[in-house]
């Protein structure tokens, strides 16, 4: 998985400069770009920065309008205020529609985005005029629902991102008030449709994955709490187990995606893989302390059966995806470690187990660091190299502060870390020597 895919448009522009300077020919630049499935000529004209600035500009116009509504113009009659804003919304959408078909579709999409903001401002105005409470999940829901058809019809990632962000806002408002957002899958399905049928967008892809993750977790939480009398909104320890299983599945899915023929699938795979890696390292850093393990061991695991069923389903999907990617062994080992730790903490065992799990996590963390350094050197991926170095340094720093098993225990762990690192360095030298052999 080449991280350079994330910078391919920068590479195309850089290649353009090389052509201008006479370092390479245009044909060579086209070949370099074709290697990463980028259109050299289009990439040079790509105006991502322009689009982002226009989008932000529209956002600030909307914020200015909403703030203006906040001033509460009581001297202007309600009907006039409402009529004015509804007219502004419909007029903006009609102008956007005209430009979308007769001029520049991208500009039309931008104006739809602005019209959707005006639509939201109109909803806020209605809430203000009619003194509709302090929380307004229904208003946000109607705002998101009103934006949805534009995203679907124009198949625009920008409009889909706007809709999905509003849907997530509604989701969190609903959840915080104890309601189940039953229509959230509708927004997930719409974003998925735009992602599959519209232009590529890594932001939309990540937003979609985040939305699916939250929805799965909250649905389970809702199911578990409905089984218990007198339980309010809460997250269960079982949710953490499902989250880890989800991330393992996602990581293997990224490798499966990388095998697809389409360039966009490879790009998505790279982004998913990088984010899974970051999540894994941060999680390992958290669990490199004893107290999260102690909390899990002492937690009430009251929904073990359903948790194991969900984890088993995800593990099965992980193994099915791992087969074609030839990662059956590594995925299987990862799952075995995960399931082992889960059995350890969920069976209400000995609280002393926390220290052993903490030590094991530290070794896993150091092993990940070494593996990243190795991959960084072996495959020439500097991001991996520095991530590996950072993981090891942060782990050492945390252990210095934390001192597992007092000073002697910590010293022993540092010696073991040193041994692992020096062994890895020796292997690297051996590997380099092997490469230099004729």
């Amino acid at each position: 998985m080449r991280l350079i895919r994330l910078l391919k448009y920068d590479l195309a522009r850089e290649a353009g400069d090389w052509v201008d300077d006479g370092v390479i020919s245009e044909a060579q630049a086209e070949l370099i770009c074709a290697r990463y499935e980028v259109d050299y000529h289009r990439a040079r004209q790509r105006s991502m920065g322009y689009n982002v600035l226009v989008g932000l500009g529209y956002l600030f116009i909307a914020l200015a309008l909403i703030t203006l509504i906040g001033a509460n113009w009581e001297e202007i009659p309600r009907a006039l205020r409402m009529g004015g804003l509804v007219t502004l919304t419909v007029a903006t959408q009609c102008v956007a529609l005209r430009i979308y078909f007769t001029g520049d579709p991208r500009r039309g999409e931008g104006l739809f985005l602005l019209g959707n903001f005006f639509f939201g401002a109109s909803i806020i105005l209605i809430a203000q005029i009619y003194h509709l409470g302090e929380y307004m999940p229904d208003g946000v829901f109607w705002w998101a629902l009103g934006c949805l058809p534009f995203a679907l019809i124009a198949r625009s990632p920008w409009l889909a991102i706007q809709t999905q962000v509003l849907a997530l806002l509604w989701f969190f408002l609903q959840v915080s008030m104890g309601y189940y957002p039953a229509l959230f899958p509708l927004f997930i399905a719409a974003s998925l449709y735009v992602l599959l049928r519209g232009r590529a967008s890594t932001v939309l892809m990540l937003l979609l994955l985040v939305s699916i993750g939250f929805w799965v977790e909250y649905t389970l939480s809702e199911f578990w709490r409905s089984q218990q009398p007198w339980v309010g909104l809460k997250l269960y320890p079982e949710n953490l187990a499902v989250a880890v299983a989800l991330f393992i599945l996602l990581y293997v899915f990224s490798h499966w995606l990388a095998l697809r023929g389409a360039s966009v699938a490879k790009d998505y795979a790279t982004v998913i893989s990088v984010w899974c890696l970051r999540f894994a390292l941060v999680s390992l850093l958290v669990f490199s302390f004893a107290f999260p393990w102690e909390e899990l061991i002492e937690a009430q695991w009251e929904h073990r059966l359903s948790m194991w069923l969900v984890v088993a389903a995800m593990a099965a999907a992980t193994l099915v995806l791992a087969l074609p990617t030839r990662r059956l062994l590594s995925s299987g080992l990862l799952l075995v470690f995960f399931v082992g730790a889960l059995i350890g903490v969920s069976t209400r065992g000995n609280p002393d187990l926390a220290v052993y799990l903490q030590v094991a996590t530290n070794f896993v963390l150091i092993s990940c660091g070494i593996w990243l350094i190795y991959r960084g050197i072996h495959d020439g991926i500097s991001h991996y190299f520095f991530l590996g170095v950072m993981s090891i340094l942060i782990t050492a720093l945390l252990r210095y502060i934390d001192l597992i098993g007092d000073y002697l225990g910590a010293a022993l762990i540092f010696i073991l870390f040193a041994g692992l690192l020096l062994g890895a360095a020796k292997y690297w030298k051996h590997h380099q020597g092997g490469e230099e052999m004729p």
């Binding site: 979308y100 005029i129 008030m177 309010g232």
Partner: protein
């Protein structure tokens, strides 16, 4: 194809328009069809980040005693609650009962149990009706805050369905 897309986007624009009209009509409905009910209100705190200055209002029936719903099935966060009001000798309406089932007669408000772990509260459920904010320009909001320091009267319009709209807030004279 282009014609179809134009129609589809036209329908999307119309949808937004009808959503706005629907919200307007829904908000207006209690004002058109509802009964005027005056209740005691206690302002708490002004200002919303986006929607401007307002006075936050509490009512006696914003807290419903658990014993009032004791006979019904268990109450959860977000549960719809119907609170019945009864006119007292002063002409103001006050709490007379609560139920998880819609009352067949009388003046009643439709509210929702809110707050995390509503079940944990010892004696009361907190209930919201969507009439807890009275929006006004800054000067008026501050004036209201001063005038209503010791409580005021909220004029509510209550539709037969229990949907309620806050019409006005006045001093308690």
């Amino acid at each position: 194809m282009k014609k179809g897309l134009t129609y589809a986007l036209g329908v999307a624009i119309a949808t937004q328009f009808f959503i706005l009209v629907g919200m307007y009509v829904k908000a207006q409905m209690p004002l058109w069809t509802g009964e005027l009910v005056r209740v005691k209100a206690i302002p708490v705190d002004p200002r919303s980040l986006f929607r401007g200055n307002y006075a936050r209002l509490n009512y006696d029936f914003s807290r419903v005693a658990k014993s009032a719903l004791a006979g019904d099935r268990r109450v959860r966060e977000g549960e719809v609650v119907y609170v019945s009001l009864k006119k007292d000798p002063s002409g103001l309406y006050a709490f007379s009962g609560a139920s998880l089932e819609k009352p067949s007669e009388g003046v009643f408000l439709k509210g929702r149990v809110v707050g995390r772990n509503a079940w944990r509260a010892k004696h009361f459920y907190r209930v919201k009706y969507g009439i807890e904010a009275y929006f006004a320009p800054k000067a008026k909001a501050l004036q209201l805050e001063r005038e209503l320091r010791d409580g005021g009267i909220a004029e509510l319009m209550v539709a037969p369905s229990g949907q309620v709209t806050l019409k006005n807030v006045i001093g308690d004279d």
